[in-house]
Symmetry: C2
Subunit: 150 residues, 2 copies
Amino acid sequence: MAGVSDLSAHTGYWLRMVSNAVSLDFARKVAGEGVTVAEWTFLRALYDVEAMAPSALADRMGMTRGAISKLADRLVEKGLVSRFDDPDDRRAQSLSLTAEGRQKVPILARLADINDAEYFSALNAEERLALDRLLKLLAERRGLKTVPVD
Amino acid sequence: MAGVSDLSAHTGYWLRMVSNAVSLDFARKVAGEGVTVAEWTFLRALYDVEAMAPSALADRMGMTRGAISKLADRLVEKGLVSRFDDPDDRRAQSLSLTAEGRQKVPILARLADINDAEYFSALNAEERLALDRLLKLLAERRGLKTVPVD
DNA sequence: TATTGTTATACTCTATAACTATA
DNA sequence: TATAGTTATAGAGTATAACAATA
């Protein structure tokens, strides 16, 4: 075929369209709680542990240390995260949730639940399960493991 | 359930993870041709017509006129797009591809084909068809029509 | 020398709104 | 007054790399 394929000929096009719409909806919901999607991901990661080094968080979120540093600045300023110096290694730090941050995570998680339910209610149970399965299959076979942020 | 749901409990999470990975791969490919994904979408839209007003393009791409204006600046500077004044309405302009721009679109379209084929080769024909169908179904039922850019 | 984290720079995209010229 | 397009500002994310302190 010599023709120039249309944008809509690609699965990636539809994937991006749907993904952007879901993310935009979610971004607006968490903005109502004063945080961005990246900040939510950051807070959620800290929720499961006592504390975590910025570098570990960077690995886990697939971001650079520089990006984590800026994100942490914002969250400290918002009173949701605390920085501590590591007593054993004076180069190192650890990050953890403040009481306020820990209180905020379930609220944000609830918004994520609602957003997902709302958005994918356009599919019936069978269709939704199939979509879920295909996406996980793709992620697994392509070796994806980075937490998506934007 | 009183628990805080995990990020990976949401279909939107997997959607974003896969979509980001596909888009990042594609962004790197078109960067090799000196354009961004938004610029590719812009060029592709102009390919089908003689000329188009910035405001029409803004509607079509779901971007503001300001964003289109900046994008057009860059593409004009790269020699891929031309601006013309409308002789009938002196407020209005029209945008069209230069010869170089018109030559570039098939090359970029080919990269889009390759990226899609490459990425979704992780699925077999049946799975891929199912994914395509579910995404289109979702886009239709949610009334999505904006061209995804990022 | 290598590593931890910070900082600086630059670029893309987004959103809002002020602004100019024209209708 | 309304419309077409530009411009300014600010915020969020990305990437690269220089940097200070410490190991």
